[in-house]
């Protein structure tokens, strides 16, 4: 008899989500983490896009995870000549004011506290957490995976092993489920973390990310579009700087990553806004790096590798689900973790954990609009061709389509599909979405994370007119969604097929509407800027209870 129902290998972003769900279903669940403490071996996170939160695990969406700063947009610098300062800017991706920064397109986060917060929630749900434990091999019973062997020689039996090990995937290779990825699809992220006062981050960056793109000979970016020269994430009182490069370029060459030092030096000394505005106010806290799989989704053979076997399911990066564009695997890790847990629970209840039952996991992954979008986009991959040919028009377009407003020509359909799917499943999720953004902003502004809403110390909020209006609006909305749950769900389901037209419509509309939209944003700034400040003031001074998830949801 198995000691456990489920063993989850890895307590990064995805592992705790799967483990928590299994434990909540009454399954005996253990989570193994190779680090001494959860999150100490994870380098990722950065901006976790909003869709990860709103479509992801309820305990995160309706909870209070530790975030470093809401992100409201990206400024892209296209560096044509760093010597002469010939730099173009694409800053079209931004949440419009007055919604920004309370409404964010993502949340910047350090991995360690975030993963630990998730793991704590899993432990509260009954998960047994074993840190300092490596799963070095799988146990087999009649050919099927039946548990793991730890580095201490312990043999832990389980009905299902959920592998959340990350891109290296050593356990899945040992289990014979997948093979080692080729270096062409692996990128090494070289990450610098700088301390900076909150006032300086607020003043210089606000809530906006800054990315740089350039030609090879500028030595501001790793060559041939296999990486970015500079991506800067503003955190609460620090900056996260990342450059990354694939371990093998198209010509078959393995690049010298020692050149990272040159790229870093060139761009930080050559970019006036960095050397003049940022450099005097920062202090290097750490430099750290890790490999991550970036283009697995674009290779048919690699994408087709199994993500499950008899008694085993792979999630997140271990299943090749890292985004090919945004270098962000967190949403897909969360989505796949929930699906894996659902399927594992069903399999264990049905007494059938064979691959033929667990293939439901693969079917749901293939039917997930956001996962499939995120492992299919090619703008980042194709940058190499623009750089190779010094094709500025192509570079502009790829940057715009990947990290500018043009991205809506590819994400709108999967996004709307997920919105309607979620509402048709449970209309009350609408009010959770509306509450999440101000709650996250409030938590960020007051540094209130970690505990369940009921356990947090609450200042007495200011009962302004806005406060009362918001509370009344949410009460009405909750009542409406409760009373008209069925027709709302039916309406959402009815709308779903129409979402397939959204991307083509955006492809047609965006180039025509974008100049007017951006001009209007600029023109309206004298009105929207003060309104944005008023919204921030309302959210940060309110009694946070009005932003908590409605009863019956979340923690």
């Amino acid at each position: 008899m198995s000691e456990y129902d489920v063993i989850v290998v890895g307590a990064g972003f995805g592992g705790p989500v799967a483990a928590k769900k299994c434990a909540e279903a009454g399954l005996r669940t253990v989570m193994l983490e190779r680090g001494e403490r959860v999150g100490q071996k994870v380098i990722s996170g950065l901006t976790i896009p909003f869709y990860g939160f709103i479509f992801g695990p309820a305990f995160i969406r309706d909870g209070n995870p530790p975030i470093e700063r809401p992100a409201d947009g990206i400024i892209n610098y296209i560096v044509k000549d760093i010597e002469t300062g010939d730099i173009e800017i694409d800053d079209t991706l931004k949440i419009p004011k007055p919604l920004s920064p309370v409404l964010a397109f993502g949340y910047n986060a350090y991995c360690q506290p975030f993963c630990e917060w998730e793991a704590d929630r899993a432990v509260e749900s009954g998960v047994e957490l074993r840190t300092s434990t490596v799963a070095v091999d799988v146990l087999r019973e009649d050919g099927a995976v039946a548990g793991v062997v730890t580095d201490g020689g312990e043999r832990l039996g389980a009905k299902v092993v959920i592998d959340a090990e990350g891109c290296q995937g050593l356990l899945a290779i040992k289990a014979g489920v997948r093979k080692k990825y080729p270096p062409d699809v692996i990128s090494l992220a070289d990450c610098y973390d700088y301390e900076m006062s909150k006032a300086d981050v607020d003043r210089i960056f606000g809530h906006t990310l800054r990315f740089c793109w350039g030609w090879d000979e500028q030595k501001v970016a790793p060559p041939l579009g296999y990486g970015n020269g500079l991506m800067v994430w503003p955190y609460r009182q620090s900056l996260h700087f990342i450059q990354d490069q694939c371990l093998k370029t198209g010509s078959g060459k393995v690049p010298s990553l020692k050149d990272f030092d040159d790229y870093h030096r060139n761009i930080t000394s050559g970019l006036p806004w960095w050397s003049e505005e940022v450099a005097p106010h920062i202090r290097l806290r750490t430099r750290i790096w890790d490999g991550f799989e970036i283009f697995v989704g674009l290779d048919d053979e690699l994408r087709g590798m199994p993500n499950h076997a008899d008694g085993m399911i792979l999630i997140g990066d271990a299943a090749g689900l890292e985004s090919t564009e945004l270098c962000d695997g967190v949403p897909a890790a969360w989505f796949s973790a929930e699906i894996a847990a659902d399927v594992a629970i069903d399999a264990i209840r049905a007494g059938d954990t064979t691959a033929s039952f667990l293939k439901r996991y693969d079917e749901r992954i293939k039917a997930h609009p956001i996962i499939q979008w995120s492992i299919s986009t090619t703008n980042r991959h194709d940058l190499r061709y623009a750089q190779e040919n010094h094709d500025i028009d192509m570079l502009r377009k790829l940057v715009h389509d990947g990290w500018g407003l043009g991205g809506f020509a590819s994400i709108t359909t999967p996004l709307l599909r997920m919105i309607f799917d979620s509402i048709s499943e449970d209309p009350s999720i609408l009010s959770s979405w509306i509450r999440m953004f101000p709650r996250y902003y409030y938590n960020w502004a007051h540094e209130r994370y970690g505990d369940a809403p009921g356990g947090r110390e609450r200042p007495r909020g200011v009962q302004t007119l806005g406060h009362r209006a918001f509370a009344a609006f949410m009460r009405s909305m909750d009542r409406f969604l409760q009373r008209f749950s069925s027709p709302v769900a039916k309406a959402a389901a009815f709308m779903t097929p129409a979402t397939s037209a959204a991307n083509p419509v955006m492809r047609f509309l965006l180039p025509r509407v974008e100049p007017f939209y951006l001009a209007a944003l600029k023109l309206l700034e004298p009105v929207t800027d003060p309104l944005s400040r008023k919204l921030v003031s309302f959210v940060t001074r309110a009694d946070p209870a009005i932003f908590d998830s409605p009863p019956g949801r979340g923690e």
Binding site: Q40, L170, P183, L247, V254, P255, R285
Partner: protein, 89 residues
């Protein structure tokens, strides 16, 4: 904590990681790819073979293992709780 903490600020090492990266010198053809991708200078070429010089600064990224297409590098995780740790990833 190893002396590498001075070289890499903000990172700590827990001793006892052992030889978690090994090179099969029979398979190694001294292509030096592992040297090119290792930011911690863990490798050296000696007698026409790559050798592990020191794993003291290794951040367990596995880049050496990924680029070794001859399969000469055996990469495993260090024992639980050993090796590097960071709060700022």
């Amino acid at each position: 904590m190893g002396s590498q903490a001075d070289r890499f600020p903000g990172i700590e090492w827990v001793e006892g990681a052992g030889d978690f990266i090994k090179i099969d010198t029979e398979l190694c053809d001294a292509c030096a790819r592992c040297l090119k991708v290792c930011l911690a200078d863990c490798f050296e070429i000696s007698e026409k073979k790559a050798r592990v010089r020191s794993l003291a600064g290794c951040l367990e990224c596995a880049s050496c293992w990924f680029v070794c297409e001859r399969g000469a590098i055996d990469f495993n995780w260090p024992p639980g709780g050993k090796g590097y740790k960071s709060l700022w990833g």
